[in-house]
Amino acid sequence: MSLPLSELAVGQSGVVLGFEYEDNMTDRLMQLGIIEGVEIKVIRVAPSGDPIELNIAGYGLSMRKADAEIVLIQL
């Protein structure tokens, strides 16, 4: 099953399948290691509900939900 990264619950993890569409933002995400085949885990959500903190194959990165919607995840 595939779903947007923004919809993963805290503690859930999955593997990047691809992107909803590709643009400058996805180029940036890929440079940071969010790329097909990489395992991503949702570590926590900020108390205000946004942004979210992720673990990307070993390092922590926080991003806004609006950006996480583009990333497609295979659970």
Binding site: E22, M30, L32, V38, A46, S48, D67
Partner: protein, 701 residues
């Protein structure tokens, strides 16, 4: 040929943020650093000298970046240095790539980009002391083999491997061995064709610049080459991008090829044994990230920072001002009362004193920020603050520059370089000068101490004076927030997003690294702010001391004119009617005008004005007593409550700081924004003071 003035080899340190790159730079250079301004570059560059074997090298530190696809101004600098595109700084002879050993995969992305830059490279594999705790083993000889360059395991924070690194730097400078690694066959084919086509048209471009321009469409490098070569360049790159891209961006092809190469070599050289990290850090992490506990801890930490900045600096500030006061008196006593004595004691010592008096607060705040950065907490603070800052049209990344601005807007505005989005960055730059900086405090303490009664309110828990001070802080925060919000409304963009912030693991900051960073930031601040404030103090002294009164025979030693006849006095009398609706007389006007270049000068200016004033009552000694007794010509007191409140609001909102105006011009690249900021803030201050004074003086209250 080496164009560098002392003709020593130029070595650049480049790497991801949070890899300990600055710590390594500081360890290699020690205290031999300077900040230089290169013509045509909007930001300055930190460089220093380091001894490697028998060679003295010029080491240049560039801001941390994740990719050579330069987006933020910080990243553009990094790439410009590497490409040799900075006037006055030759293309580096060697690059030291600083790599975090505990996060090889992402760090190797930038590393392989730099390895394709066609210059000698040494890889510093940093933080090797943490590998064991992370359960990671790295086969260094195999990594060297795959990358084709020397890899030196180091721990910059602990000083491990530094001598070995120096040895490798020296031998690579001698051998000039250039790595031949190329990870994307597709891009290499296109590059070879592009170079051929362009050289057939007699265009020869430095390889790394051409490569980045080709890969990163619409990037800084692409735009520059398009501007330089026009149609010839764009038609060729467009054709090749289409032929290999098949509708995908070249940057996406680069990222996919690089990561698949990195994944393949990591299988050979890295083994991860997933034992969990240290328990203390995991417990800290859980507490800091608990929604309620984490938010409370955040408030507690910020509270502690401000408490320290204000409470601890008090005695130091008093000590410094007493010392400079004493020194100034001694100087006047030794030299004698004439012009030279006044120049040395009021101009030179007074001027230098007005700069160093801020040092305690700035050093304490810088020390806290460095500790928060090095421990990894500052990213958590930005994470927590993102949503709130977004409400003001900013982002979590604006939090750090805003926090620095509570000491001084100059480092705050420079700190905004980390923000990639240009409108977020502009909003941050224009909001930063509203934060209550160290220079506003002496003005606040003088006026609050002299005129606000020290009543206890709410059952004795809260002091009225403290409440007024808090109100002024809030006024600054609200003013900055509204300004940022307005800017973001003007440039509102639906698609705006892009808050991507690394959350480094918690680390215990090392005393050595913190003190070296503190030294480097403090000296940078002193040089920048010091020269401006010092120059202005001298100018004010000149304006207040001239024209010299040579006809005065009663006092042969002191030709200093009465203040009202000096240039400063004459200027103030001319513009005084403009400030009369604020309840100011010409002396207050003179002090305020004198403090436009640097607001803290107002204290010295008031001191000079009331001390020089011959009508003043000899028995009133402190400045506070003097201003309390000051009256208009008709006997009404000058400093009434509405006037004092108005004056406080004026100082809270007005942009009375030449250094800030200069740094806004530099960082936005335009006098337009610098003048806008000045006019806007000064206007707010004037009308704020006008409204308060007029309402307060009428019988409405």
């Amino acid at each position: 040929m080496n164009m560098n003035k002392n003709s020593s080899p130029v070595v650049v340190t480049i790497g991801n943020p949070n890899t300990g790159k600055s710590t390594l730079f500081n360890t290699l250079t020690g205290l031999r650093q300077q900040v230089s301004n290169f013509p045509g570059v909007t930001v300055e560059q930190v460089s220093g000298t380091a001894k490697v074997g028998h060679t003295e090298v010029t080491l240049v530190d560039v801001p941390g970046t994740y990719s050579l696809t330069a987006q933020s101004p910080d990243e553009i600098i990094a790439v410009d240095v590497l490409e040799g595109n900075i006037a006055g700084l030759p293309r580096p002879d060697l690059a030291i790539i600083v790599v975090d050993a505990t996060n090889l995969r992402r760090n190797l992305f930038l590393a392989t980009q730099v390895l394709e830059a066609e210059m000698p490279v040494v890889v510093a594999l940093n933080m090797v002391d943490r590998l064991e705790a992370c359960g990671i083993t790295i086969d260094v000889p195999k990594l060297e083999h795959e990358l084709g360059v020397k890899v030196v395991p180091v721990s910059a924070a602990k000083g491990i491997g530094i001598d070995e690194l120096r040895v490798e730097i020296e031998s690579s400078l001698i051998s000039k061995h250039v790595p031949s690694l190329k990870v994307s066959p597709k891009i290499e084919l296109a590059m070879a064709e592009l170079v051929n086509e362009l050289s057939a048209r007699n265009i020869s471009i430095n390889n790394i610049e051409l490569r980045r321009a080709f890969i990163d469409k619409d990037s800084h490098a692409d735009k520059r080459l398009t501007e330089r070569y026009g149609e010839l360049f764009t038609s060729e790159t467009l054709r090749l991008r289409n032929s290999i891209g098949n509708g995908r961006s070249i940057a996406a092809i680069e990222a996919r090829d690089r990561y698949s190469w990195i994944n393949s070599i990591l299988k050979k050289i890295e083994s991860i044994n997933t034992i969990q990290g240290s328990n203390v850090f995991r417990l800290t992490d859980r507490a800091f990230n608990h929604p309620l506990v984490g938010s409370l801890l955040f408030i507690l930490i910020m509270g502690a920072v401000f408490q320290a900045v204000f409470a601890w600096s008090g005695p130091l500030i008093d000590g410094i001002s007493h010392f400079t006061g004493w020194l100034s008196e001694r100087a006047e006593h030794i030299i004698g009362p004439g012009l030279l004595g006044s120049f040395v004691s009021n101009g030179v010592i007074g001027g230098v004193g007005s700069v160093i008096v801020f040092l305690p607060q700035i050093l304490i705040l810088f020390a806290f920020i460095i500790v928060l950065e090095d421990s990894g907490y500052i990213s958590r603070a930005a994470f927590l603050m993102d949503k709130l800052m977004r409400g003001m049209g900013l982002s979590g990344q604006s939090f750090i520059p805003m926090l620095s601005s509570f000491a001084c807007a100059v480092p705050g505005i420079m700190g905004a370089r980390i923000i990639a989005d240009k409108h977020d960055r502009l909003a941050t730059i224009l909001a930063a000068p509203f934060m209550t900086c160290a220079a506003r405090l002496p003005v606040y303490s003088l006026l609050i101490g002299a005129f606000i009664p020290n009543h206890h309110i709410f059952g004795g828990v809260i002091y009225l004076q403290g409440l007024v001070l808090l109100g002024l802080y809030l006024l600054g925060i609200i003013g900055g927030g509204l300004t940022a919000w307005l800017i973001s409304r003007i440039f509102w963009n639906r698609a705006k997003s892009g808050f991507l912030l690394e959350m480094p693991p918690y680390r215990l900051p090392s005393l050595r690294s913190v003190s070296l960073k503190l030294w480097s930031r403090a000296t940078t601040f002193l040089k920048r702010a010091g020269t401006v404030i010092f120059t202005i103090s001298l100018v004010i002294w000149l304006l207040a001391s001239f024209p010299q009164n040579t006809q005065d025979t009663e006092n042969i030693h002191d030709h200093t004119p009465p203040l009202s006849d000096s240039y400063l006095g004459k200027m103030s009398r001319t513009v005084a009617p403009l400030f009369a609706p604020l309840g100011w007389d010409w002396k207050v006007t003179a002090a305020v005008i004198a403090s436009f270049p640097a607001r803290e000068v107002v204290i010295a200016a008031l001191g000079t004005i009331y001390a020089v004033d011959t009508e003043a009552d000899e028995e009133l000694t402190t400045l506070s007593e003097k201003i309390q007794a000051e009256t208009h010509t008709d006997g009404r007191p000058v400093y009434t409550m509405p006037m004092v409140l108005g004056l406080l609001i004026f100082y809270a909102l007005c942009l009375q700081c030449m250094a800030t105006v200069a740094v806004i011009k530099k960082e936005t690249g335009s006098w337009g924004w610098a003048s806008f900021s000045w006019v806007y803030m000064t206007g707010l201050g004037y009308f704020g003071a006008l409204i308060i004074y007029q309402i307060g003086s009428s019988n409405l209250l």
